[in-house]
Every structure is written in C-alpha cells, then in structure tokens.
C-alpha cells in the first residue's frame, strides 16, 4: 500500500458544502435507522437533488428503492426523464398509482382535492411496502406550513401529521419512535432554499426535465400535475439564468400551485392528512 503524506489543507466549506454535508448525514441516519426505507422521486428538481445527495452519501449508489407515485397526469417529458434516469442512475424504482379523484374528500377545494389523490396513492404505497421511512424533498422555505416540519417527522396511524405534538429535535439527534402503523418522513432538504437547490444543480451538473427552462417566454418554476400547475413568465433558459432570475425575484415558488391559494387552511389540511 502506498501512503500519501501530504500537506494539503481541507477545503473551506461554503454554504452549499455545509448543506450537502448535513443532507448526507441525514440520509445516512435514515438508512441506518429506518428499514424498509424508500425515497420519493417526484421527478422534480428537488427530488433529483435528493437522489444525487443519496449517491453522494453511499458512494455513487442509492441503496434503497426510489418511489414514484404516479398521478398519470404528469407531463410526458417527466415520464421520459424517469425512464432515462432510472437506467442511468441504476435506481430500484417502485411505481405506485393514485386513486381516481371521485374517491377523494369532496369538501376540499378542486385543486387541493386533485392534489390529495397523491396523498392517497402514497399512503397505499407505504402500506403495501410496509415502509418505516419515507424520504421526501420538502423545504422550509416553500410554504409556511412546511417551515414547521422536523427533519425526522413521525406519522401516526393513518399517516397523520400531529403538528401540535412534534418531538424535540436538536443537536442532530433524530427521534425514531415506532409503533404499529407508524412511519417516519425524512426531510434531507428541509434547510435548503430554492436558490440553493439551483446553485447546487449548477455546481454538480444535475440533469433536469426541460420544462424548468423557458420556451416562448414561459417556464415552470415548480412541477405538479398538468392540470394544477401553471408556468411563469420567464426568459431563463439555462440554470445560470434561472439563478439570476431568482436572485432578483421575491415571488413565492409555489405561486403557480393552485391549491395553495384556494383557502387559508387548504394546504395545512392536506399536510395533516399526509400530503408532503
């Protein structure tokens, strides 16, 4: 064995290095503590970053299945992306489907009701695969309700989020209570902001669905189902241009998501019931 004695100094970590190191730590905790475990791959930018971080954590591989809960209403570009990168990244892909909208609580406003299909599809997957851990790519800066989340967020029977009774979480110690019917949502991107995600995508060269980039003066800032996501006015056609655009903008990322605006509490009701 050759020993490399060197006087090289460690690199000084910048903000992205710190976010990356923390996310890797979280993913390794989840892999160690929660089995069976799966990562929710929505095909959007955040979940691609998450898959990338998992590969960082586990030396180039994702040692647990990734899960796509399909609403069957995604853009065709997204399905093509899924098939391509499942192969390229050697992912073990679990596919789940969502029940028709007629089976969903009719008291929800229309877009929220449509979004709730995803919750039902996810719940079915969690039960089917008896998952103890589900890694999801939500961020605190996306939406006020998500700002209240824990990194390890226990979900009781029926997958419900008890927002008023969350465990303490500090010093990188994550509670992993376990009872029948319970699972834990793991949020490795909670501390990331939208701009961090884009800067990291740029730095690492992480591939994305083209819909994020402007065509004919419009691009998608956030990707949901075709019927409940709308594009924003933008000329940003590259990652660098998106970053420049975000640095000068103060509009909320989810402004294009209809269910966030239907009523003051629609999003919270969705989340308590298990929506991401």
């Amino acid at each position: 064995m050759t020993r490399t004695h060197t006087l090289a100094e460690p690199r000084v970590m910048d903000d992205l290095d710190q976010l990356e190191a923390q996310s890797i730590f979280i993913l390794r905790e989840a892999y160690r503590k929660l089995k069976p475990l799966s990562l929710l791959w929505s095909l959007g930018k955040d979940s691609n970053v998450m898959v990338w971080l998992a590969r960082k954590a586990f030396m180039g591989r994702v040692p647990f299945p990734v899960m796509h809960v399909d609403t069957e209403k995604k853009f065709p570009e997204m399905y093509a992306f899924r098939d391509e990168y499942t192969k390229k990244w050697n992912l073990d892909l679990l596919l789940g489907y969502c029940p028709p909208v007629e089976e969903i609580d009719p008291s929800l406003p229309p877009a929220a009701r449509s979004a709730a299909r995803k919750t039902a599809g996810l719940a079915a997957m969690i039960d089917k695969h008896k998952l103890r851990g589900v890694i999801a790519g939500i961020r605190r800066d996306e939406q006020a309700t998500r700002a209240k989340e824990r990194v390890f967020s226990p979900r009781g029977a029926g997958h419900r989020w008890d927002v008023r009774n969350q465990p303490p979480e500090f010093w990188d110690q994550y509670a992993t209570p376990y009872e029948d019917g319970m699972h834990i949502r793991v949020h490795p991107l909670l501390a990331w902001r939208e701009i961090d995600i884009w800067r990291y995508i740029e730095r690492e060269g992480i591939p994305l669905v083209d819909l994020y980039f402007a065509k004919d003066g419009k691009r998608y800032r956030s990707l949901g189902d075709q019927d409940i996501t709308s594009p924003i006015e933008s000329n940003a056609a590259t990652v660098a241009e998106v970053i420049a655009e975000l640095e000068s903008s103060k509009t909320s990322e989810r402004a294009g998501r209809a269910m966030d605006h239907e009523s003051e509490d629609a999003f919270e009701r969705l989340r308590v019931a298990g929506y991401l």
């Binding site: 710190q18 730590f25 905790e29 040692p63 303490p168 010093w171 909320s252």
Partner: protein, 639 residues
C-alpha cells in the same frame, strides 16, 4: 446547599479562544442562524415581522396577506401574523412552533428562528434554538425579566449559544426615559451575568413602531449603542473547528462492491490519508488508506463538518458510535469515564428521578445509562442551585449518569459539537438534553453501580410478542377479590395469546418479601419491590397484573412513578361490608378479635383511589368483573 448558578464557572471549558477564520470575499458563507426568544407577549413575533419589513425581506404578496388577515379579524396591521401561518395558531392567537425565515443585511445572510414563549412548547424552542449562533432575548422594558425570560436565558446557556443581544422592547411605554431604561438594563444584565452569559448589547426599542430596530430612534437621543440591526451585523461568524484534534464518530459501515467504507461526519479537526487513528473505547489502531467521496474533487484530506467515508488499513469493522481520534497524541485523546456529570434540561412531562435508565446518545454513539444522582436542581425563581430529589418537567439540573462501560467524550463547549448528550427513553423518544461536563469521581466507599438496559426496544418486544406490555395495579380491601379476578383474567388473556403474569400480595410475601411485616414502612417497601418486579416483567413485554391491597395513595403513586408509562390503576371497589362478609381467609374475624394489628379496613386506613383508570364495582358477577378487566387489558396491549 444553595449557591448561585455562577458556581458553574470553570467547570466547562469554553471554545471562545478558538480563532475564527478570515475568508475571501468570494466565499459564500452559510447563513447565520439567529434565534429570537423571550417571555410570551413581550413581542417576539412583532419584532420578526418588523425586521423582515425593515430589511426588505418580504416576498411579494406577503404584506398584502398580512393586511388582509389582520383586516378579516378586525385588527390593525399585526406583524406577528406573518409568522402565525398555521390556522390553528391564528385561531388561538399564539405561536405554536418555531419557524425559520431568511433575511439579509448587506452581504451577510441570516436565518431568523422564531421560538415560542409558552412553557409547554419548550421542546419547540430548543428545536429552533439549538443550532443558532446568536440569540435576541426580547424583554418587555416595563415588565422586565419574567419566568420564561429566565427559562429561555438558562436554555441559551445550556444549548451553547455564544452571543446574546437583549432587546428592551416596548420602551415607548416608558417614554424612552433614560433613567428607567438604564434601570431595566441593569436588572437584565445582572440576571444574565448570573448565567455567565456575555451580553453583546442591550437595545432600547419599540418593535411595533420600529425604534432602534433598523434605524436609530429620535425618541432615544441619549442612547449611543447599536441598533438591533447593527448589533446583529456585529455577531462574529462561527468559530472554526479545524484546528482542534480530530474526532469522527462512526455513523455507519458500508460494504459496496467489495470495498469497506467507514462513514461519518467529522466533528472537528482534520484527517489525512496516512493518519493513524484509534477506534473507539476498544482502542484498536488503523491507518487511513483513503479519504473517499463521490463526485467531488479528489483530496487526500478532509476537515470538520464534512460527511465523508474512510477506507482503513487494516480493514477493521468499527461499530456505529465508535469515536475515531488521533492515535499518536495522548494529549489529543478524549475523556474516558463510565460516570459523567451533565447539565440537564429535562423535556419529559413527568419528573426525573434517580435510578431511571435511558440511552445516552452522543453524536452517533448510544450508551445505556442510569441516573446515579441528582446533584443540584436549578430554582427558576432566582436561578440558584438547590438540593432536590427530582427534576420537574421542563426543569434544569446537574445530574450524574452511570454507564455500563467507559464512554469516550469531549466536554461540552458552546458553539462546538462536543459533549452534546441527549437522553432517549425506551420508546426512542428524546426526553432531555444533557451537555456533558466531565467525568464524575466516586466518593470514597461508594460502590459504583452500572445498571444496563435491554437492547430490545419496546417496539421490537411488541412486534415479537404480538402485543404491547403494561402494568395493571389492582388495589382494594382485603377480601375484595383482587387475586381471584387477577388469576382468572390471567387464564383468559392466555387464551387470547397475551402473555400475562400475576404478582399477588400473599405470594410475594411468601418469598421475595418474606422479611417484611405490615408496618407502614414495610408496606411501602413491599410495594416498592412489587413495582420494580412489575417494571422488569413489563419491559420484557408482558401484561403484568399486580394484586396488592396497597392502601395508601402515596404508595400507589410511588409504584406509578417506578413503573412509569404503562401503569394503570385498577380499583377493585368491593365495599367493606361485602369483604367482611366474604372473609375468605378469616382475616376480618381475626382482626375484629384484635388478633391482627393494623389490618386494613379495620384498624388501618384504606385510601380509595380518586381517579383510577378502571373501577371494578361490586354490583357485578365475578365473570363480568373478569371480562371487564380482561377487556381493559386487551384494549391497552393490543395494537
């Protein structure tokens, strides 16, 4: 013993001497987390709304949202609505959980962590505050420090916040009167001085009106100190941990494609290929063959904060939690002790007592520990230390933990990752923070006790058995039918595949407790022993039915405390006349004849439970009573 908390001086080495790194302007530093704490209604949320507005950090549309929400509720613009984003919070008008909001001052980014002031939400505050670099303690200038002010200040100290700015809010109520404000400042400084908190600035302000927040107030012309924004901008960046001796707790060990990786995050120091490292308490030594990363610049060195993997030579397999540290520098070795003094902040709803067992989590390590002693409890009225038998919910104390084996650790140091112990119960819930102060010496003649805890969690037990455990404590007069009901219930539970054990008073007294009589002290000891046995059986996953007269409420409370969660008091409520009439053992007759002194119900008191979890009345047949008890047990233990 009564001494000021400042008696803690010198116990814990502070990390302030570590030099901070100077970085080039191109370097993008992580945002500085700032926590905002203080007593309820002293104006935390208002301050945050004002800060965001004044620093132009609001997203488009947010201001309109606040105005609209305030208008709907018939209020003037309420800055705090910005944060109270959950419906339930708005309905109650209180902030429930911590929230993080970024804002920018010049080139520097901050993240505000809002922490709530209601004491029952302490754990949310800790969740928000633990990573903060600096804190703003909001104190109502007129009211001065209140209970939560003291509690929060104490926590800032224990979780290791290094920089504290005091905002004397609502100073407009005092008309920004210099002498009144100087008095208020002096009071707060005195309080924080007792906690050895160094105050960066005390700013007289009005968050509602914006005085001395972002701009200097004309109403306090006499004040020459910084505005809040200036004070925040003066907070130094986090200290570097690179210069300290290397520490990496092993997070996991992977084997991918025939290669073994020892994964972890470096707590401090640096590691290079070729370094010789000691592995954990076992003390094996290995050399770093390679510092491994994926899709990153190849560097044979890594520093504090990085999540990496190491290949070791020889190819040893460390355990998760093993601490890696330099092998060839004795001075750089961590502390090593099986008894550790800690400063505790206690988060469980029930008090903590000596003898309770937990898992001590220290970075990725987990150690079985028992509370060997409660050395001092903090009196929150005046922040003094006093003797105490228990630590109340949300309380603070110094305690000594005894582990089953030597623990490697570095003493807690504010601003660093060292010694950040956390106590976890057997349900894997976090019940307290326990910054480690140092090794505890044994007093002469004291035999060190190192209890161990089962490595099988309650969840695993329940999964293996198919049911959960519990303790069902039957109390009632002699002859009320406790043992009979318990024994029949045992059979019917067995028929439903529930493993139940009965601890019956007479049976215990024939063996385990044959040295005990019936004096109040002996009865108490009898109950203490039964409770401990019940706890052990319950932890093994069984449903335990205890049938003991246990006449005194205080003694049953003791049993409840020993058993902890999963204790259910069952009152076998058979009237004295019926018991005496049944008198299956002829005891009442003997007692009435004066042959048995201190016989419960005749010559000794029976205190009926006031709020038992289950009451079995005498107006039913034995079969009905058994089925009621069995049904209750099943509801508790079945998933």
């Amino acid at each position: 013993m009564r001494s000021s908390v400042s008696a803690w001086r010198g116990i814990c080495k502070m990390g302030d001497h570590i030099a901070t790194q100077t970085l080039s302007a191109a370097h993008r530093a992580a945002a500085t987390p700032i926590v905002i704490v203080g007593h309820v209604d002293h104006g935390k949320s208002t301050l945050i709304g004002r800060l965001l507005y004044d620093t132009d950090s609001l997203q488009d549309g947010k201001l309109a949202q606040i105005v609209e929400s305030s208008r709907k509720r018939g209020l003037a613009v309420e800055w705090s609505f910005l944060l109270d984003s959950l419906q339930i919070e708005r309905d109650q008008g209180v902030t429930v959980d911590s929230t993080r909001i970024p804002f920018r001052l010049g080139s520097r980014e901050f993240v505000i962590v809002d922490a709530p002031g209601h004491r029952q939400f302490l754990r949310n505050m800790i969740t928000g505050a633990a990573d903060a670099e600096a804190a703003v303690l909001v104190v109502d200038a007129q009211e001065g420090a209140q209970e939560q002010t003291r509690r929060h200040a104490m926590l800032l100290r224990l979780i290791g916040i290094r920089h504290v700015i005091v905002l004397l809010n609502k100073s407009d109520v005092l008309g920004f009167d210099e002498s009144k404000i100087v008095q208020a400042e002096s009071d707060v400084r005195q309080l924080l001085g007792r906690l050895e908190i160094e105050v960066e600035a005390v700013v007289p302000a009005s968050a509602r009106d914006g005085d001395n927040i972002a701009s200097r107030s004309e109403r306090s012309a006499w004040y020459k100190g910084p505005t809040l924004i200036e004070a925040l901008a003066n907070v130094p960046p986090p200290a570097s941990r690179l210069a300290l001796p290397f520490r990496m707790p092993v997070q996991d060990v992977y084997r991918f494609d025939g290669v073994r990786y020892v994964a972890g995050r470096i707590e401090r120091g640096t590691v290079r290929a070729g370094d010789r490292l000691t592995i954990g308490a076992q003390g094996q030594i290995a050399t770093v063959a390679e510092v491994c990363r994926w899709h990153a610049p190849e560097l044979p060195v890594a520093g504090a904060g990085e999540s990496i993997a190491l290949r070791l030579e020889p190819d040893l397999v460390p355990d998760r939690g093993d601490l890696l540290f330099p092998a060839d520098d004795k001075a750089a070795a961590p502390e090593r002790s099986a008894r550790i003094r800690t400063r505790l902040f206690w988060l469980r709803g029930e008090p903590l007592r000596v003898g309770e067992s937990f898992t001590l989590r220290l970075a990725t390590a987990e150690h079985d520990v028992t509370v060997a002693s409660i050395d001092a409890v903090v009196d929150l009225d005046d922040l003094t230390l006093r003797q105490g038998d228990e630590v109340p919910p949300d309380g603070f104390a110094e305690i000594t933990l005894a582990a089953s084996h030597a623990v490697l650790f570095d003493p807690f140091s504010p601003g660093f990752g060292d010694g950040r112990g956390v106590l976890v119960d057997r349900h894997q819930r976090i019940v307290g923070g326990a910054p480690l102060i140092g090794p505890a010496d044994l007093e002469d003649g004291v035999h060190a006790i190192h209890p161990t805890a089962s490595r099988i969690s309650a969840g695993q037990q329940a999964q293996a058995r198919g049911h959960k455990s519990g303790v069902f404590w039957l109390t009632g007069l002699p002859g009320s039918g406790k043992s009979t009901v318990a024994r029949v219930a045992e059979v019917s539970l067995a028929a439903q595949n529930v493993k139940a054990t009965v601890l019956d008073g007479d049976t215990l007294r024939a063996g385990l407790c044959s040295d005990l009589g019936f004096s109040p002290e002996d009865r108490r000891e009898n109950i203490r022993r039964a409770a401990h046995v019940a706890k052990i059986l319950s932890e093994s996953g069984q449903a335990v039915i205890v049938a003991l007269v246990s006449p005194l409420q205080a003694d049953r409370d003791l049993a409840r405390q020993i058993v902890g969660e999963g204790f259910h008091e069952v009152f076998v409520d058979t009237p004295l006349a019926t018991c005496e009439q049944r008198d299956p053992k002829g005891l009442y007759a003997a007692a009435r004849a004066g042959k048995i002194p201190e016989f419960t119900g005749v010559s000794a008191p029976y205190e009926a439970p006031l709020s038992p979890e289950l009451r079995l009345g005498a107006d039913r047949t034995e079969a009905e009573t058994v089925s009621e008890l069995t049904g209750f047990v099943l509801r508790v233990v079945q998933p």
